[in-house]
């Protein structure tokens, strides 16, 4: 896909050095309507509240933010519930089909000092443009307010706001 220049320096002491290909030798795919001045945007509907899916969502959001993309995170249903104040500290839920993996997953994350999904998102907010919105429907259903949620959540919005964000996004995901 990217096809880096295969020329390599003579290995010395097992060290291999690769120089990236010059622009002329390597045509790059560009989005049809890309505007270099406008940052690309990632929108995520975060519906899931299990740690396995929250991790995946957080890594996608964080990677995008680190690459200079604007990130719109729309929390709904179980995803929103996972952002209740302090809930992330005790949330050990894993997708039901993979409940047998839960102990291994949580143990390995601890052993390998993997940052939690909340850590990732906080890092993303610090480094990039990440907007976290809470679904008004879910809040009303469970009698919650913005003040019941973690401070990382910016505001309460509905489906129309999300659709507007998604329409302006190059990448939209449902997790």
């Amino acid at each position: 896909m990217f096809g880096f220049d295969k020329r390599q320096h003579t290995p010395e002491n097992g060290v291999v050095s690769t120089m990236p290909a010059t622009p002329a030798a390597q045509p790059l795919a560009t989005p049809l309507d890309s505007n270099p001045a406008q940052p690309q945007r990632l929108s995520i509907v975060l519906f899931s509240g299990t740690v396995d899916k929250l991790m995946a969502a957080s890594i996608l959001a964080t990677g995008a933010a680190a690459m200079g993309m604007d990130v719109e995170l729309f929390l709904t249903t179980w995803g929103l519930m996972a952002f209740r104040k302090d809930d992330y500290k005790t949330n050990t839920r894993v997708s039901a089909d993979f409940a047998d993996y839960a102990p291994v997953m949580l143990e390995q994350m601890q052993a390998k000092k993997v940052p939690s999904w909340m850590d990732n998102l906080l890092g993303a907010k610090e480094i990039g443009n990440v907007h976290v919105a809470a679904c008004s429907m879910t809040l009303e259903l469970y009698g919650l307010q913005l003040s019941d949620l973690e401070p990382i959540v910016d505001e309460v919005t509905g489906v129309a706001t999300f659709m507007e964000q998604a329409q302006a996004s190059q990448v939209t995901l449902f997790i």
Partner: protein, 80 residues
């Protein structure tokens, strides 16, 4: 570690797993002046493709990649 060029900043991201290497890189790059060179070492399996993709997306220059004993060291120059 083989350093083939002088660097203004060295970042040790060995042992960090996705998304930490690009996050650590983005944070460190923020503190550099345009034209300065940063070296980042990583053991993350995805870093070989992720770091170049990050550089491409953010308009920074990947000067060189050195692979030694399972550790990749990326030399990046901050653009204007």
């Amino acid at each position: 570690m083989v350093t083939t060029k002088a660097v203004d900043r060295y970042v040790d991201a060995k042992g960090q797993m996705c998304p930490m290497p690009v996050l650590t890189l983005a944070k460190a790059m923020k503190e550099l002046q345009p034209g300065q060179v940063l070296a980042l070492s990583a053991t993350d399996l995805g870093a070989k493709r992720d770091i170049p993709a990050w550089a491409e997306k953010t308009g920074n220059t990947l000067l060189e990649t050195v692979e030694e004993g399972g550790v990749l060291t990326f030399y990046l120059k901050k653009s204007a």
